[in-house]
């Protein structure tokens, strides 16, 4: 399928820090400004909005740290929550010490998380980075299950099921900040998030960071240019652990409680989804994924019991059709947005959207009705979806849903060719402008 080839084009290299140093500083400055203004934007200037932004910030740091492993070094980990959670536990204990008189401001608590993340990253990493690839993924799974089980066996440190709590307002006040309000918590999280992102971005540009990319691309060749790939993996692992622990520390401040769920397989899986959906081939991809998934988790779960299923379908769609993630899609479109063919592309999208919406409606109907019947049978057969009432005991809603799904799919399929053709045109035009020959051949 031709669309596939356009979508599967080589992902933009990780390496390009667009522009020179001045451009870079401007970008970070702009980000800082946006972060400071965000909580005052109408719609977000409520406690709920601040809480949402805080969660997004934590998730963003966590997802970026995960991508140091996956997108940067090619290491797939199913147990990254270990470092997040252990960092969180360290931070919450540190907070308790502060509650009991330790004269350190709350704003520095994430450092305890980072330190714990680094420590355990070094400790476990020294052993688990001996292998790479699939075996490394399995080891990470095993270590994750181990640590999760251990949290229940050592209630003194981990508080068992209830977890460990602390109070973020009982601490020495720095600049009059007592962290009673969610807004102040947001600013602490946002500041640390910005610092973490800048550090991780800078890390990529160091010799070690360059070699991480190299062993991601071709670990064998890296050995032949003088590098022990195991050592490189180890360093990357320690760095990833450090920033995951930092995120855990932010988590501790935000929720004032850390429990076993912070090291769980579910959390490890979530950060993986965030990073991958956002896009592992671009630096900001995981941030996009973190924001998107946090928003989905919070808002979608209010509307439907089936939101996890939708999330799963979304993830599968990304794997199959957009392996560079949302960030990859954005970059791909940015490359052709200035071409004349772009308008055709938009038109093709619009035409494809109609059958896709029909198909989607059919699917949603089926899913929602099934979920309702199986998880809430006590509510009876009649239900409401948006403004439509239906009786699931009769065959009609089911027939309608199936017809919509099938018909929509068939029609949708027919539009693929048009979209693919529009992409070919746009792609050619975008390339033709730069290479003259239009076929990308070398001189």
């Amino acid at each position: 399928m031709k669309t596939g080839s356009a979508l599967a084009a080589p992902p933009a290299t990780f390496t390009a820090a667009q522009g020179n140093g001045a451009g870079r500083y401007r970008a970070w400055l702009a980000t800082a400004v946006v972060l400071s203004v965000l909580p005052h934007v109408p719609g977000l200037n409520t406690d709920f909005g601040h809480s949402l932004l805080s969660q997004m910030g934590i998730a963003a740091v966590f997802a970026l740290s995960f991508n140091v492993l996956l997108g940067q070094t090619g290491l797939l980990s199913f147990g990254h929550a270990v470092y997040f959670g252990l960092g969180g536990y360290a931070a919450i204990h540190f907070m308790r010490a502060i509650n009991h008189g330790l004269p350190v401001p709350i704003a520095l608590v994430p450092l305890a998380g980072a330190a714990a993340g680094l420590l355990f990253g070094i400790l476990f990493g020294s052993v688990t980075t001996r292998r790479s690839g699939t075996i490394f993924a399995l080891i990470s799974l095993g270590v994750g299950e181990l640590v999760y089980a251990a949290t229940f066996m050592l209630p003194g440190y981990f508080g068992g099921e209830e977890g460990i709590t602390a109070n973020r307002t009982r601490a020495p006040e720095l600049f009059g900040l007592n962290f009673g309000s969610q807004l102040q918590v947001y600013y602490v999280i946002a500041s640390w998030a910005l610092v973490a992102a800048m550090l991780m971005h800078a890390f990529i540009r160091t010799p070690l960071g360059r070699m991480c990319n190299a062993i991601r691309d071709n670990p064998e060749r890296a050995e032949f240019i003088g590098y022990n790939t195991q050592h490189v993996r180890f360093f990357a692992f320690a760095v990833a652990g450090l920033f995951a622990g930092l995120a855990g520390g932010l988590h501790a401040i935000n929720y004032e409680i850390v429990a076993a769920d912070s090291v769980s397989a579910l959390r490890s899986g979530t950060v993986l989804l965030m990073a991958y959906i956002g896009g592992v081939t671009h630096f900001a991809g995981p941030v996009v994924g973190a924001i998107t998934l946090t928003w989905l988790q919070i808002s979608l779960s209010d509307y439907t019991a089936a939101w996890l299923l939708y999330l799963g379908l979304f993830f599968m769609a990304i794997i199959l059709f957009a392996p560079s993630g949302l960030a990859g899609l954005i970059v791909m479109h940015a490359a052709v947005v200035r071409t004349k063919a772009f308008r055709r592309l938009l038109a093709a999208y619009a035409i494809a959207l109609v059958p896709a919406a029909v198909m989607g409606t059919g699917a949603v109907l089926l899913i929602e009705m099934s979920y309702r019947l199986s998880t809430h049978p006590e509510l009876g057969a009649k239900m409401r979806l948006l403004w439509i009432a239906m009786d699931t005991a009769t065959p009609w809603p089911w027939i309608v849903a199936v017809v919509l799904l099938v018909a929509g799919f068939v029609a949708f399929r027919m539009t693929w060719r048009r979209v693919a053709a529009a992409w070919d045109r746009a792609g050619d035009e975008a390339r033709g402008g730069r290479f003259g020959g239009g076929d990308g051949s070398a001189r």
């Binding site: 199913f78 399995l138 080891i139 799974l141 199959l320 392996p323």
Partner: protein
């Protein structure tokens, strides 16, 4: 003491055989295609649900045949229509695909059967005690399970070692590219292996769903242990999977019965440890409490010391 040992041993063997039923399929898939099939335990869960549903409609014995068949078809479809498109995108994409699939299957199962466990019970025809060992009765369905497991292993062994297609699969297990270069339809073989592996998982699900609760989290419960067995037993080795399954099954069953902890050991050795000691909590953990993590300790140890596993022929 002897009673405890004998009963634990028997139960351990039963558990081990169930694990083997489950992991034989995964071993084949993992070894042949290098794909870490996260969805394998999910297919096991589907087998349990199918056997419940088919059992409701047409009875246990037909379900024993139909549920694995359905799972086999699903496995074939997964490989043919899903995984095949992902092979070219690298191992990471493959793993993530099966990971997402596991996620999806869990949600689909919830969508169809709800979040609570379904009332799958031991079918009447095999709900009687087979014999009694030291006063503890050994139910017939466990005997059936053992019989099915052993038959399956024999069948697999014969099929792989004595038939032509088995020979080709063995070759593709360790040298897939070479097998393809020699002209064998490796993609077709992949579909076959995936289908057979999934059918085996489904068969295990029929029995396992009775032994354990049939609920959407069944895959989470069983999944990680299955990976442990595959890696410890060795990639590409069915015999290794059998040995590892039995070993882990027996060790874990025994561990659950052991009520001692490191504290007891220290007491015997005369080492004084008090509540004030920093790692007291750790020393006080009874082996029985730690039993769930024994497989993971084994996994980590094996991966560090001998990633090939006990009898493995391929280093992933």
């Amino acid at each position: 003491m002897l009673e405890l040992t004998a009963v634990s041993l028997l139960n351990g063997v039963v558990y081990g055989l169930l694990l083997f039923m489950l992991t034989s399929g995964l071993t084949l898939i993992f070894s042949m295609m290098g794909v870490l099939n996260f969805a394998h335990a999910s297919v096991f869960m589907l087998g349990a649900y199918f056997s419940f549903q088919f059992g409701r409609w047409i009875g246990f014995w037909p379900a024993l045949v139909l549920a694995p068949l359905a799972c086999g078809l699903i496995g074939a479809a997964i490989e043919r229509y899903g995984l095949r498109h992902v092979h070219t995108k690298g191992h990471v994409a493959e793993i993530l695909f099966t990971f997402g699939l596991a996620y999806l299957i869990e949600e689909l199962v919830t969508m169809l059967w709800g979040r609570n466990a379904v009332a799958s019970s031991v079918p009447e025809s095999i709900d009687f005690p087979l014999f009694a060992l030291f006063g503890t009765s050994f139910p017939a369905y466990k005997g059936l399970m053992m019989a099915i497991s052993v038959t399956m292993f024999a069948f697999l062994f014969l099929a792989l070692k004595r038939t032509r297609i088995g020979l080709i699969i063995q070759a593709a297990l360790t040298h897939p590219q070479m097998a393809g270069a020699l002209g064998h339809d490796v993609p077709g073989l992949f579909v076959l292996v995936f289908a057979v592996g999934s059918a085996l998982a489904g068969l295990a699900g029929v029995i396992g769903g009775v032994m354990w609760l049939t609920q959407p989290t069944l895959a989470h419960f069983v999944g990680p242990i299955v990976f442990v067995v595959v890696v410890v037993g060795g990639l590409g080795s069915l015999s290794g999977a059998l040995i590892a399954s039995m070993f882990i099954g027996i060790v874990q069953t025994f561990a659950v019965a052991v009520d001692y902890s490191l504290l007891d050991l220290f007491r015997v050795l005369g080492i004084g440890v008090t509540r004030a000691s920093p790692l007291y909590e750790f020393y006080a953990i009874k082996v029985a409490t730690a039993a769930p993590i024994v497989p993971y300790l084994l996994l980590v140890l094996m991966l560090i010391v001998r990633p090939r596993g006990l009898l493995g022929t391929r280093d992933a």
